[in-house]
């Protein structure tokens, strides 16, 4: 029997941050495990950026403790800095620097020996697909390319943890997809990624775990399907069948756990019909619903549980602002 131990890469305990009377982060407890792509979501002003800046050692908390890769942010800031790559929700520009100079400068700031820098920079630029813009002035890059360059900057010293504040904010759909793919690639390289986003579709697509913060408090945390089970009273499954819509609906209503079955308004092209069921059972019961349809000769083209993070988010949060 093989055991897999999850090591905590970021441990936040009772973290509190106040700005005068306003509490931005309120006794927050959170753990991000090694290898996680952890999505940190919440309304504006919920405390995401404050939390991330405290983890990066840029903001002093009023109370609480943060450990990154086993090192205390308060006691060993230099060790923590060596372990993290931080990308804020804005892109800091040195208008006169070329792309390679920008990375070379930050390499020097991370004390990368001069002889190692050219090959490192080439590798990083290739990773973020910016090799062809090496000699361009940073300020001339589009926002999407700047974000990629910014991501390359966070990787210069080969950190274990990436803290990314809104990495896809303001990007066009293509650039968003590219950044998302990069994050998945980085996770495959063994990096732990702790990132915030308002684009819930991105979070749902790539995150292994999600934390929802509101008014400085963590209101929900876990894998997306776990959160669904915790927060959503019913699971929702979308099914596409080839004709036989009424028959499928009748059959599904008879399955244990199905509390509602209805046809979706927008019909698919040709014979395709779409329906959805609201379901309270477990995975075994859900597979039974599919089996019933198939056994009764209903051609099923698509059977998918809709893990709608937006709905989870709306239910978990109350629209509170501190």
């Amino acid at each position: 029997m093989q055991f897999t131990f999850m090591t905590a890469t970021i441990e936040i305990q009772n973290l509190t941050k106040r700005y005068g009377e306003r509490i931005a982060v309120d006794k927050l407890n959170l753990t991000v495990n090694q290898g996680d792509i952890f999505g940190f979501i919440g309304p504006n002003g919920a405390g995401k950026t404050s939390t991330m800046r405290m983890v990066a050692g840029l903001l002093r908390p009023n109370s609480g403790a943060i450990k990154v890769a086993g090192y205390s942010v308060a006691k060993s800031p230099e060790r923590v800095k060596a372990q993290i790559g931080y990308m804020p929700d804005y892109f800091g520009v040195y208008p006169d620097l070329k792309v390679w100079e920008y990375l070379d400068f930050f390499s020097a700031c991370y004390k990368i020996p001069e002889g190692q820098r050219p090959s490192l920079l080439d590798g990083l630029l290739e990773l973020v697909d910016l090799g062809h813009r090496k000699q361009d002035i940073v300020d001339s890059l589009s926002r999407g390319l700047k974000q990629r360059l910014s991501l390359a900057r966070t990787l210069i010293h080969d950190p274990q943890v990436l803290i990314l504040d809104e990495p896809a904010a303001g990007l066009d759909p293509r650039a968003r997809v590219e950044i998302r793919e990069l994050l998945v690639e980085l996770a495959a390289m063994g990096k732990t990624i702790f990132f915030s986003s308002h684009i819930l579709a991105d979070v749902a697509e790539i995150c292994t775990r999600v934390g929802i913060i509101e008014a400085g408090k963590l209101v929900a945390v876990g894998k997306l399907d776990e959160l669904h089970l915790q927060i959503m009273p019913r699971r929702r499954v979308e099914i596409t069948v080839l004709g036989k819509l009424e028959e499928a609906l009748e059959l599904l209503k008879s399955v244990t756990g199905v509390v509602e079955a209805e046809a979706l308004l927008a019909p698919k092209e040709g014979e395709r019909r779409q329906l959805s069921i609201e379901f309270t059972g477990d995975d075994a019961s859900l597979s039974e619903a599919l089996a019933v349809l198939v056994q009764q000769g209903i051609p099923v083209l698509h059977f998918n549980e809709n893990l709608d993070l937006e709905e989870v988010f709306m239910r978990a949060t109350k629209g509170l602002v501190t």
């Binding site: 800046r53 990066a56 050692g57 840029l58 903001l59 002093r60 800031p77 230099e78 800095k81 060596a82 993290i84 931080y86 804020p88 804005y90 892109f91 800091g92 520009v93 040195y94 006169d96 620097l97 100079e101 400068f105 930050f106 020097a108 700031c109 991370y110 004390k111 020996p113 001069e114 900057r153 010293h157």
Partner: protein, 302 residues
């Protein structure tokens, strides 16, 4: 073993110099500075030459040489006073405004390297302006009347002025988040040090000299000596007065290090030539301001 951090490899300094010297901005600034200086020196030389009845006389040549030399030094001092604070008053605050400050603070770059790198790039550029203008003093060498000691002392005073005024700029920019405010305050302090103190000192001197004339003998010699030392310190606080004070000492007593001040028939005070305390005060002030700036940068935002 920890690798040695050579000062000339400071990444902030390298980046700042690289971007400052890029394009034609730096070239234009140095050129404009030299062209203006040449015009002023040329005009001064022409006017003095034409106003002098007998330029062949040694005394008149000495006067002409000293006048041209003094003018170049004065222009250099004005240049340093206006350019040095401008070069560094945005050193740290610009990083905050450009939103690059957090990016730097999250790296392994020590606060010391950030502050000293910014500071050094400013000092190096002002030194470039100062040293490229040294040939402008050549008419004074040709005419004569200027000693190597005077040249060395003037370069030293201009250099420490540049060093201190750059440190003042860095200090304000480390504490203030807006470059505009930092620049205004840096200029205010620089103007006070370079021009304000001489003006205030002159007013005090003119007001009290008359009332003290003839009554100096009634004073306690110790009180009188303290007053002289305080006045001498005022002279040493400002580069312009320091240059004049040192020159007076050199001309009257031919002493580079000590100046003898005859207060009354009985009281005679020997003080250090003003350039010595000036250099010491400005260097200590610079070190102190840089140290405070480093401590400020080390602090984590609250």
């Amino acid at each position: 073993m920890k690798p040695i951090e050579w000062p000339w490899k400071n990444p902030v300094m390298v980046k700042e110099i690289r971007t400052r010297m890029r394009g034609n901005r730096a070239f234009l600034l140095v050129t404009i500075h030299l062209v203006l200086l040449s015009i002023v020196v040329g005009l001064a030389y022409y006017l003095l030459m034409t106003s002098m009845s007998n330029i062949g006389l040694v005394q008149q040549r000495v006067y002409l040489g000293k006048a041209v030399f003094g003018l170049v030094v004065w222009i250099e001092l004005v240049t340093v006073s206006f350019i040095a604070p401008a070069l560094t008053s945005g050193a740290i605050s610009t990083e905050r405004e450009r939103q690059t400050y957090d990016l730097l603070r999250v790296t392994l770059l020590p606060a010391r390297s950030l502050v000293l790198g910014k500071y050094a790039s400013g000092v190096i550029f002002i030194f470039l302006l100062l040293f490229t203008s040294i040939p402008m003093q050549s008419p004074a060498f040709l005419i004569g009347g200027v000693t190597p000691q005077e040249i060395i002392i003037s370069i030293l005073i201009l250099s420490v002025s540049a060093i201190a005024l750059c440190a003042i700029g860095v200090f304000f920019s480390a504490f203030l988040s807006r470059t505009m405010v930092s620049t205004v305050l840096s200029f205010a302090v620089a103007t006070f040090l370079v021009f304000g103190i001489p003006v205030i000192s002159s007013v005090i001197l003119l007001t009290f000299t008359k009332s003290l004339t003839g009554v100096a003998n009634d004073f306690n010699p110790i009180s009188l000596s303290i007053l002289v030392f305080a006045g001498w310190l005022m002279v040493s606080l400002t580069p312009l007065a320091t240059i004049i004070g040192t020159e007076v000492g050199l001309l009257q007593q031919h002493s580079l290090f000590l100046t003898n001040i005859q207060i009354t028939d009985k009281v005679n005070v020997i003080v250090l030539s003003p350039w010595i305390p000036h250099v010491a005060i400005y260097l200590v002030l610079s070190l102190l301001l840089l140290w405070i700036s480093i401590q400020r940068i080390k602090q984590v935002e609250r």
